[in-house]
């Protein structure tokens, strides 16, 4: 492409109005769940905060920058903002790329669902859990090992299953938002 052709093409915005709109909606959800404390019981006394899933969903639906915005919104009301303001946006970033470049590369939707469930569980147990447990260990709550993968392993194993179920329900309810039917990330 010549420089003249490149100059004549309109510059792609950093975020489209769709991405900004979805970032705002997911950010409001992420904040509302955590700030209110409305949670789903996982295995008493442990609970699942749906707000923590919003950066991942925003990343899938609207890309990594939307994931970062939503992650920050989830971090603001956190009890440990020094951990969540850093790691929640990180979740939004890696989920965006894994969804676009791994999950949606599977073109057959029948095969894509099990791949999605397995990837969700693996990311939850082998990426998200160690990241947060490591950060909490730096704050002196517990040692990194054996908290991960043993002491809190059962909780994160269960959490990964719940995460896969909730993601699946949301994507199945709104396939066009996530480009699921088209097999192409909408960002």
């Amino acid at each position: 492409m010549s420089s003249t052709e490149a100059e004549s093409q309109p510059r792609k915005p950093l975020l489209t109005s769709r991405q900004l709109g979805l970032a705002a909606a997911f950010a409001a959800a992420a904040f509302a769940f955590r700030a209110s404390g409305l949670v789903i019981t996982l295995a008493p006394p442990l609970v699942i905060d749906l707000g923590a899933l919003m950066p991942c969903l925003a990343g899938m639906a609207a890309g990594p920058i939307a994931g970062i915005i939503v992650g920050i919104a989830r971090g603001i009301p956190s009890g440990l903002p020094q951990v969540d303001l850093v790691l929640q946006p990180v979740k939004g970033i890696y989920w965006a790329y894994v969804y676009k470049y791994v999950i949606l590369r599977v073109k057959d939707p029948k095969k894509r669902w099990p791949v999605f469930w397995i990837v969700t569980w693996l990311l939850s147990f082998f990426v998200e859990a160690p990241l947060f447990i490591f950060a909490n260990s730096l704050l002196g709550f517990y040692p990194f090992y054996p908290t991960w993968p043993f002491t809190l392993g059962w909780y994160h194993a269960l959490y990964g299953v719940y995460e896969a179920v909730i993601f699946s329900v949301v994507i199945a309810a709104l396939p066009s938002v996530f480009g699921w039917k088209e097999g192409k990330a909408p960002w």
Binding site: S17, F31, L38, I40, L174
Partner: protein
């Protein structure tokens, strides 16, 4: 131009939202989970999820449908 003004509007909404979030944290919530122990908390959480999913779907629809002009 219409697209630019809409983008500017969304950016402004995001900035205002974040200011409100910080105020809510500082003035009320303070990092806690004030409604965690209300009766039927699971159902309230699912209800809130449904509300936000409708909002997500509406924004997606409004920002992807072809302009009528």
């Amino acid at each position: 131009m219409a697209g630019n003004s809409r983008t500017a509007l969304y950016v402004a909404v995001l900035v205002v939202m974040f200011i409100i979030f910080v105020l809510i944290r500082e003035l009320w919530q303070k990092g806690g989970k004030p409604l965690q122990n209300i009766p039927g908390v699971d159902f309230w959480a699912i209800g809130l999820l449904v509300v936000f999913l409708i909002l997500v779907w509406y924004i997606h629809k409004k920002t992807t449908e072809p302009s009528s002009k």
